[in-house]
Symmetry: C2
Subunit: 304 residues, 2 copies
């Protein structure tokens, strides 16, 4: 059975572990901070790989950013990673094969192979975190497009309320449905919702209301927090309706930190009452925090 | 070489012809009106098929409506076709194989195989007419989803201006970007645009301004008509940006009557300046008026 060194590259930390081709961990995942400059990052990668190289068949990276169609490079800018990250040819980091995939794509593959969507050949995983990521499985294959960049659902324009995204474009799905989007909705509703003046947050500066405040407000039955969350959910539903009508998937898997606050049954009913294709199942992710690394390892073991 | 009887089923007319597996016509397409009741429609289908059955290998239908995953039935409602249309099991209409595909999907396949997108394994055809249809080619295969209904891009919600679609849902892409959408935009801007009172249509009731009027207005350099068309194009661009970011296609092919009024180069530049994936080409359809029938015939010849 093949052994894969999985490496998850995030803006703040790098996690790595040995994984077998069934997606099971052979070693406990280890964490380290993401270096701030490119030379240090490359030498960290080399150190991790050298340490494991004799025991593995392949190295698999799950990373932020758009990955090229050959799965060897990141060819977009990645604001949270050192400048020059997109100049790394990952295939040169090891004597053995190296495979790179976008983390949202890899997470979708993990859900399909070992998570919440096993056996569902048409399934979409939406990762709700600081941003919104998407990975699309079409007829049992990962949707990659002409250049490897497919799945950028966070940049789908919805609603038209003119909200400016962190990418400076307007009305990106991500600007509404991410954690950052929830915070922005909280700020907007603090200025417009009739519930704000009765809210437990009425003395806070709207800009300073956090995602955590809103979640906490829900637990305390705060009407303003409920209105914020309802708006956030409705925006999310619009995005999920759109991809359901286009892909006619068996399931949409919700991954990431925001997922735990969603009532999937309620959301499934809302979506199914609006779509023109046949009903879709909405489920929470099951492949865990390391789904990116696991999915990249599983994809790599299919390729090599 | 296989011979296919292609039959295109529309709300007002039915067109049929014999086609070979290269997509070339073996007979001149014949037209007949679409019967108003289901018994007459079935007996028309049987008559057409019986007349050709000895000379063909397969019958291929291109039709409005959602087609099941087995390509044997329409399993959605089809308001422009007789009640009971979705009860027809097309496979019983002939002693030889019968294949059914949605007309927008079939048109996309024709563009991919013999039209404007030859050799482009990731390509999308958008049909702009009374409604908006979409057909998606992913890695050289037609996107059909779990139940055959994928590609319902006309129901993608965009803009959020609250426009009510003919399906009674709000903000469908179709309600903005179809011919009907252009007429609706004309009506709205007649009430709000500063150019209307100087327009050649200033004496018309806003509701009665037609798509033809706007196209005619463009030719006459009417500022109001230009503003209407600009708004319509911007709405279309939003929809095309969304599908480009999700699919990362090589091309989007614009099909249908509205296409001839579009400057594809201008539209391509607008889209490419907003997307986060690599650039897409925007082209007009080439497979002609009978692309649905041709695409269905080509798909059928691959299956049988």
């Amino acid at each position: 059975m093949k052994k894969i060194l999985g490496i998850d590259v995030g803006g703040t930390k790098i996690v790595y572990a040995m994984i077998n081709e069934n997606g099971n961990f052979l070693t406990t995942p280890e964490k380290t901070s993401t270096p701030k400059n490119i030379e240090e990052l490359i030498s960290l990668f080399k150190n991790i790989i050298t340490k494991h190289e004799n025991d593995i068949d392949i190295t698999a990276f799950a990373t932020a950013g758009a990955v090229n169609i050959e799965n060897t490079r990141v060819d977009s800018s990645t604001p949270n990673l050192p400048t020059g990250y997109n100049s790394i040819d990952f295939s040169t980091l090891s004597k053995k094969p190296v495979f790179v995939e976008n983390d949202a794509n890899a997470a979708a593959w993990a859900e399909f192979k070992v998570g919440a969507a096993i056996g569902e050949n048409n399934t979409i995983t939406i990762t709700l975190g600081t941003g919104v990521g998407g990975g699309f499985i079409v007829d049992g294959k990962l949707l990659r497009g002409k250049s490897g960049r497919a799945g950028e659902v966070g940049s789908m324009k919805i609603q038209g309320r003119g909200r400016v995204c962190t990418c400076n474009r307007k009305d990106c799905f991500e600007s509404y449905s991410s954690g950052t989007g929830l915070k922005k909705t909280a700020e907007e509703l603090a200025l417009t919702s009739k519930y704000f003046k009765e809210s437990i947050y009425k003395d806070k500066t709207p800009k300073n209301i956090t995602t955590y405040d809103i979640i906490n407000g829900l637990k305390n039955n705060d009407e303003y927090s409920k209105a914020v969350f309802e708006t956030w959910k409705n925006d999310l539903v619009v995005g999920l309706i759109n991809i359901t009508n286009i892909f006619d998937p068996e399931s949409i898997i919700i991954s990431g930190g925001m997922g735990e606050f969603i009532n999937t049954e309620e959301m499934e009913n809302k979506i199914n009452s609006e779509i023109v294709v046949s009903p879709v199942k909405i489920k929470l992710a099951k492949a865990g925090n390391y789904s990116g690394m696991i999915g990249a390892a599983l994809l790599a073991s299919e390729k090599y």
